[in-house]
Amino acid sequence: MPIESMEVLWFEQHELSLSELAGLSGLPLAVLEELLDCGAITPIESPGFEARFGAAALRAARAARRLRSDFELDIQALGLALSLLDRVAELEAQLRELRAKLPQRYPPRS
């Protein structure tokens, strides 16, 4: 069996152009542009003219591709679903933070 060693990239360190974002997410460019127009996907602040996108946008675009094909959602519904997923992720991060701060039982169960 071939064993390959491979190069890994931090998802968080990605910076993508619009067409790279479309390619990596599998979303048609037209759909991606509509999601940009309605604010469901946002570019990162960049000094250049060309919009650049980070990990959050790639995550959202990939979710949008799945939701669109699996639920046959239109742009409005897609935008709504993405903003709700965002909120869920935010709440989960808060929950993770609170859980980390919550003291364990003392004495610890062996």
Binding site: E4, V8, W10, E12, Q13, L67, F71, A100, K101, P107
Partner: protein, 316 residues
């Protein structure tokens, strides 16, 4: 080839109408879609549902599937003679690794007709959950991945190929982070790009540390007299033991910050480690110790609940 019962996957009778198929799919997709479901095994379940729906929603594919006859799920079977010529554009081998879904991906029907089998198709992206320990996140680690991926051979036939990867998880990984391995997903077809492999990292629970991003939290139990008088304690961190000064009068719940002693960040620096003060009491005390506590109780003027009376008064 192993038979899959697509009707059973959707909880349907074989005579189900198109409308019933759509309804069943929508109901199950809502329940098991990996983006919305928290149920364990949801992803696998959803793949099964989606595969069934892809075939049954298309009247031509459904007719081809019905022609395969009805078998028990998981039972070995062969498509009837001439079935391939009648329905399929791509040649396929009837070897065991061939998956029913791959057979149907090649059938004529709904939309895919125009390009035929020479159409360029990007490879599939895969997402894999990887759990690592806090010590592995601290030092970086190498993991083995065993995946089974559909691939085309030289004759354009599909096989399920077991692939083993070694992937280096660099320092800086933490809960909820993702890594992308470009081109390591499914192979593209006819010049389409190879898919990517995404690793979703999670941290396994640790007996001492709890992670939030790159910060770590550790419970620091103190005896009552240590909290009152102050002390200096040894605190374990993933990078080794450090000495921490606990100031006199330290209250329970206070967070003592040890800068840069958390998990390493991807580029540079570390998160912090927070020692969370707990004041704990011995489960049993001897006579001499109890006598000392009694003397303390008699001589202390400390009223820990002084604010009760004040606040209760305000409420009226």
């Amino acid at each position: 080839m192993k038979y899959k019962d697509y009707y059973a996957s959707l909880g349907l009778e074989r005579a189900a109408s198109e409308e019933q198929i759509k309804k069943a799919y929508r109901r199950l997709a809502r329940k098991y879609h990996p983006d919305v479901s928290k149920e364990t095994g949801a992803e696998e379940k959803f793949k099964e549902i989606a595969e069934a729906y892809q075939t049954l929603k298309d009247p031509e594919k459904r007719a081809a599937y019905d022609q395969l006859g009805s078998h028990a799920a998981g039972q070995e079977f062969e498509p009837p003679p001439n079935w391939q010529q009648q329905y399929s554009e791509a040649p396929f081998s009837a070897e065991e690794e061939l998956d029913l879904s791959q057979l149907f991906a090649h059938l004529r029907g709904g939309g895919a007709r125009s390009g035929g089998s020479r159409m360029s198709m990007p490879g599939q992206d895969y997402e894999v959950a990887v759990a690592i320990s806090i010590d592995e996140a601290f030092n970086g680690t190498q993991i083995d991945l065993d995946l089974s991926m559909p691939e085309y051979d030289g004759q354009g036939r599909l096989h399920r190929v077991p692939r083993t990867f070694k992937a280096r998880i660099p320092k800086g990984a933490t809960d909820g982070q993702r890594l992308r391995l470009p081109g390591k997903g499914g192979k593209g077809l006819n010049g389409g790009r190879d898919g990517d492999l995404y690793l979703n990292i999670s941290l396994r629970p640790h007996p001492l540390y709890r992670a939030n991003g790159h910060d770590l939290y550790l419970d620091l139990p103190l005896a009552p007299w240590e909290a009152v008088l102050g002390t200096s304690v040894e605190v374990p961190t993933p990078g080794g033991v450090v000495r921490l000064k606990v100031p006199a009068g330290t209250q329970a719940g206070r967070q003592l910050r040890l800068p840069q002693r958390g998990l390493p960040r991807p580029k540079e620096g570390h998160g912090d480690l927070y020692a969370m003060v707990q004041i704990v009491v011995p489960g049993a005390v001897g006579d001499a110790e109890r006598e000392l506590y009694r003397k303390l109780a008699e001589s202390s003027g400390f009223d820990p609940r002084g604010h009760f009376a004040v606040e209760a008064g305000h409420a009226h």
